[in-house]
Subunit: 320 residues, 2 copies
């Protein structure tokens, strides 16, 4: 999802920071959807970067910037331990080694989409930049390992890495999925489409969010950072909004009206409530802010960006 | 070095916490020296645990406790990237997967010797337990990855892991080696043998130490901890002494006299001075202390433990 949105953004901008984009290669395990017609050269390939030889072929064209977003997501990494480690750890290692193997002064920028899942409770109320990464999922463990690899290969001069720890992305487009965190998006997206959504936790649950649009902005900004400003700490917690479910609902009311809010059905789920209790709810992402990363200022802004980007600016009839 | 000392200690104790030791297997890439005659069953094997199949054979006997001390050390991990990752990361993964593969309710205690090298500057003056691991060497990176793997496999119930971050071990027995940190031991050990030692940094350099005896004590204590007291944070910074080189020298004077101190020759080395500046110098290892880990109370105690353990209680003629 983020890969596609990033591709659209890069193709539309035609540039990354100071530099024009000559060529864009999209690689995914599923056939990438064609981008809207664009002026720059784009190719797309179906490939699994965790298989031997694939990363070498991807890197052979000596891209100046590599965005590594490929990952087995949290639910699957938990149910299929081997696949999670193969894709999320071995895949990362193969990519970094492909860069290293090219040698000859090649030193691309590698932007790695990490996650706040690298953190695990117990937490202080606000989590500082220098807090330990003690993940409570295999997915978070694998992202934390990816960060360590990226930082080591950067320090050794093979590449210029930046890992950005993305907040929970909200509002996710598409259908409701089985992810435990899915309800954060479902309770906004579904009502905006005039459909019912289930809320499995209490309204005082607090969590850390950014929109897909903000996340794409972080990826683009990370790629255009001056590497020297990072020093040896190239893994950054991204800005986000610390918002309770009650505040999410209030923003939905503001944008979509009472009719939208009435589509949220309370159905408490103890398993999800317990999981969510171990997730971080607030960060102090001081370094990212100093480095110029900017997210949303209010949850209503997040809701509006969904309506703009996914609904052509209009909510379902009878709402809003 | 620690492996051998740990073997001697376990053989001498004949027990680990509440449990008697029935059998001790020593595995090393070099032929292990025979232990002093002991009452328990001991076998020794030469094997490289990072090669396929070796970990399975080691684990096939279903040991109740596994001490994982095998590592490519920091200097070599820096010069030989591939060997460092193969042994320190793949070797760890193969060991953990061998445990997981046995299944059938097998759930051993795995004690992993980690290191304060998982930390990298900049630091606060005193480093708390929840400080981020941002290593500045490949060795530290590999130890940090080992910790993450151990914690994830523990959380998933395959084993009960404890990672202990050892301070710089001082006084190391044996000959001076090429490690950048070697001088911390050299300036004590060599004078106690009546030999000259080189000090490449200024006397106000501060670092974090424990004796080999204390380190063995940490390993033994880690193996006998009640796993439930650890929760999901099973990687612990060990107690140590935060001591300046001047304080090291003062302790040498106290134990070995002025004649010993005169054997230290100042020979400033800019490269070593720069490296040492990135190393941690003081921790607040609160959790380890709460869990009952105990180190030395003074550097003189460290010097005396060297004299007891390596010199039969006597220093070179003309000293002390």
């Amino acid at each position: 999802m983020l890969g596609r949105k990033l591709g659209e953004r890069l193709a539309a901008d035609g540039r990354l920071g100071e530099a024009g984009i000559a060529h864009l290669s999209l690689i995914d395990v599923a056939p990438p959807l064609p981008l809207s017609p664009v002026a720059i050269e784009v190719d797309a390939a179906v490939a699994d970067i965790s298989l031997p030889g694939v990363a070498e072929r991807v890197i052979a064209g000596r891209p100046d910037v590599v965005f590594q977003l490929a990952a087995v997501v949290s639910g699957e990494a938990e149910t299929d331990l081997e696949k999670g480690y193969r894709v999320n750890v071995e895949g990362m290692r193969l990519l970094l080694d492909a860069v290293r193997g090219l040698g000859d002064g090649y030193r691309p920028t590698v932007v790695f989409a990490s996650s706040i899942a690298v953190f695990g409770a117990p937490f202080p109320e606000t989590i500082p930049d220098q807090f330990a990464t003690t993940p409570l999922t295999s997915y978070g463990t694998q992202k934390a390992i990816g960060e360590l690899l990226l930082a080591d290969y950067s320090r050794r001069g093979f590449l210029d890495g930046v890992a950005i720890r993305l907040p929970t992305i909200c509002v996710r487009p598409g259908n409701p999925n089985a992810a435990a965190s899915g309800f954060f998006s479902n309770i906004i997206r579904e009502p905006l489409h005039g459909r019912e959504a289930v809320l499995p936790v209490s309204e005082d649950v607090r969590h850390w969010f950014a929109s897909p649009r903000a996340a794409v902005g972080y990826l683009v900004h990370a790629a255009s950072l001056d590497r020297r400003t990072l020093g040896n700490r190239c893994c950054l917690t991204m800005p986000g909004l610390s918002v309770t479910v009650a505040e999410q609902i209030e923003a939905l009311r503001e944008v979509g009206g009472e009719a939208a809010v009435r589509l949220i059905r309370r159905e408490p789920d103890e398993r999800i409530t317990r999981m969510v209790a171990g997730w971080p709810s607030r960060f102090d992402p001081r370094r990212a802010l100093e480095l110029g990363f900017r997210g949303e200022a209010s949850f209503a802004e997040i809701v509006r960006s969904y309506i703009d980007d996914e609904l052509g600016g209009r909510v379902a009839a009878g709402l809003g």
